[in-house]
């Protein structure tokens, strides 16, 4: 086992400092770089984490029209234009509004499912289902 020399110590501290500097600088720099990293899972935050939503999610998963495979479900959700926009949206209020608009659009197109007797839009039922699948796999 070698001994810790002063040079090695200074070198490591310098490397860490440089690394930190580079990382910090990059973080700052990167905030100015436009990127497109849709995050489906952050969208699930619009679904309340309560017993009702979980129950709807579980029951929605028993419907033939809602996939019980998370990647497939998220793919079908992200096919909808307003959901795609919502995923890209960082402001929570704007994101919630987009999801609600997509639900209204579903209703207008009669894309509805009945869960526990509730007439729900396919989107809201799918989001509840995705949340259940997401927490099961977490």
């Amino acid at each position: 086992m070698g001994t810790l020399t002063r040079r090695a110590l200074l070198g490591s501290v310098g490397a860490v400092a440089l690394g930190g500097l580079a990382y910090g600088g990059s973080r700052i720099g990167c905030t100015f770089v436009p990127r497109n990293h849709p995050d489906f899972f952050s969208l699930l935050d619009v679904v309340p984490d309560d017993a009702v939503a979980r129950r709807i999610g579980r029951n929605a998963l028993t419907l033939a029209s809602i996939s019980d495979n998370l990647p497939a479900l998220s793919a079908s959700l992200t096919e909808q234009p307003l959901i795609r926009q919502a995923i890209e949206e960082s402001c929570p209020t704007a994101r919630m509004n987009l999801v609600q608009d997509q639900c209204a659009l579903d209703f207008a197109e009669m894309k509805t499912v009945v869960v526990d007797g509730w007439v729900l839009s396919e989107t809201e039922a799918s989001l509840c289902a995705a949340r259940v699948l997401g927490s099961a796999s977490a």
Partner: protein
């Protein structure tokens, strides 16, 4: 003039231009309209001036189908007919109700809504209604709130009018007594329709009191206006010359019985701040009292193969004191008595109302208490709304009135009512609610929970006591008992009046259309006779 056959003063034969049997809304309207046109009318009423138990018992029969219905007490056999019972909700049938539909078997009248419009307009005043206006736009400006902002291509706001309700016996008693052209006889029960030998025309009808006094009536034309069940019963019972019953050569009399399915189910939760003010309560505006509901657009009804429906919102409160579940016969009896006493009269059928109150004393006490509390602390926002409706059924030839062996004291066989309520009818209503739920969701107003499951519980459907369809109107004698003029296809001078002639029931309460058809028939007969 009104006379009593029991008095023994009747001649052996009564005569007039037209003989009208029955003094409910159909018969009285018809008689008054014919008289206005200068025709003489013999108007026959089987019951007395008011309720009599022995007359009423002629209506007893059996219920052999869906049993949330009654044949004995839901109709009144007395002067004024069942208008002594009715609650007064009125609306015209919709254009859609008259259309033949490829997706609904046996649907469609030989006349259109447009044909009836001028008669609807004249019928309004008989029932003490406002002007003949049933579009939301006609009333909008007078209402204390706005319609829900729903897509009208899906669901729109619908208007009904509320009659006081008009009791024909009270309202028209004097007019009939003083009308020189109307010869009205009480306790005159039709017991036979006699055809001229070798012809297809009625020569006379035989009438009898319960104590055996008889006479007969000769007229150029005869109209049977005895209500949706009794019209069929009379034709089926007149078998002396037509073994299957008059007008029944195609086995259609009594078939296609339809009713409105009274159902309160499915719940809407509106978002905070949604203005629902105009929906749950009846609203008095100048000249009319309105009830406001939600209806699916007729194009969508056809596209989705639904039946017609108007749904009214019934507010549900977390606190029981604001709910109306105490409303039953006891409460109706109590409020009727209070209203009539406050006008300084003794109520009609006082003993009946009084006993209803005694039987339901708990509910009446609850009602009085809740009304008192509401005066002090009116309800705030309703927690939810249920949908109440008189929903349409698809025409069904197996739903029917037939005769049973048991006879009444006048020798007429009593009826069995085999009312069919099908899962299909309820599933169509479920789908209708889904459409309303989706429209509410699309407008961002809230969500709906359906109350009808995919395997519906038929017990949720109650009769609205709207007896319809048993002598239905159709241009083809093989598909209907009466023609477009309400004449029995196979008899040249016999007509039927009332909801038995309805080819479809739609979702509008029937009495406005009953009255309308009576006015139309009077115009027709005034020319023909």
């Amino acid at each position: 003039m009104i006379s009593d056959l029991r008095s023994g003063s009747a001649p052996a034969e009564l005569t007039g231009d037209v003989c009208v049997v029955g003094t409910g809304p159909a018969g009285i309207t018809l008689a008054l309209e014919l008289s206005k046109k200068g025709r003489s009318v013999v108007l026959l009423e089987g019951g007395g001036a008011s309720y009599e138990a022995d007359s009423q018992s002629l209506y007893r029969g059996s219920v052999i189908g869906h049993d949330n219905i009654d044949v004995a007490n839901s109709r009144l056999r007395q002067f004024g007919g069942t208008s002594g019972h009715w609650t007064g909700m009125c609306a015209p049938l919709d254009p859609l109700d008259f259309e033949p539909r490829t997706d609904v078997a046996h649907h469609g009248w030989p006349i259109t809504r447009e044909d009836l419009n001028p008669f609807y307009a004249r019928a309004q005043s008989y029932l003490d209604l406002g002007p003949f206006k049933y579009d939301f736009a006609d009333w909008q400006a007078m209402l204390p709130g706005k319609a829900l902002p729903l897509d009208p291509a899906k669901v729109f706001t619908d208007i009904y009018q509320q009659s006081p309700p008009t009791r024909f016996a009270e309202k028209f008693d004097e007019a009939i007594k003083t009308d020189p052209r109307i010869d009205c006889w009480l306790h005159a029960n039709l017991t036979d329709i006699v055809l001229k030998d070798g012809s297809d025309a009625v020569q006379r009808v035989v009438v009898s009191t319960l104590d055996g006094r008889r006479t007969s009536v000769k007229a150029k034309t005869f109209v049977v206006a005895c209500g949706g069940i009794e019209n069929a019963r009379i034709l089926l019972n007149c078998r002396n010359q037509r073994p299957a019953g008059i007008g029944n050569q195609n086995d259609l009399v009594g078939r296609y019985y339809t009713d409105h399915m009274t159902i309160e189910t499915s719940t809407i939760l509106f978002n905070e701040g949604v203005d629902t003010a105009i929906y749950p309560e009846e609203i008095d505006v100048e000249g009319a009292r309105l009830a406001i509901g939600l209806k699916v657009n007729p194009d969508l009804v056809k596209q989705l193969h639904l039946n017609n429906n108007s749904a009214f919102l019934v507010a549900q409160y977390d606190k029981d004191v604001y709910n109306d579940d105490f409303r039953n016969y006891g409460w109706i009896g109590f409020t009727t008595m209070v209203k009539t006493f406050s006008r300084g009269h003794l109520p009609d059928r006082f003993a009946e109302h009084y006993c209803d109150v005694i039987d339901d004393f708990g509910a009446v006490a609850t009602g009085v208490y809740r009304h008192a509390v509401r005066k002090v602390a009116p309800p705030s926002r309703a927690a939810a709304f249920k949908l109440r409706q008189d929903a349409e059924q698809s025409p069904n030839p197996d739903s029917r009135v037939t005769l049973i062996a048991d006879k009444d004291p006048l020798g007429f066989n009593r009826v069995a009512l085999d009312w069919r309520v099908t899962s299909e009818d309820l599933l169509k209503l479920r789908r209708t609610h889904e459409v309303i739920g989706a429209a509410i969701g699309a407008a961002g107003l809230g969500r709906m929970q359906l109350g009808i499951s995919e395997t519906p519980d038929l017990e949720m459907a109650f009769s609205a006591y709207h007896h319809m369809g048993t002598t239905r109107m159709h241009a083809d004698p093989k598909q209907g008992v009466v023609d477009a003029d309400c004449r029995v296809h196979s008899v040249s001078n016999l007509y039927m009046a009332g909801s038995s002639t309805f080819t479809t029931g739609g979702c509008a309460n029937p009495t406005l259309t009953v009255t309308t058809l009576a006015i139309r028939l009077a115009d027709h007969l005034a020319v023909a006779v």
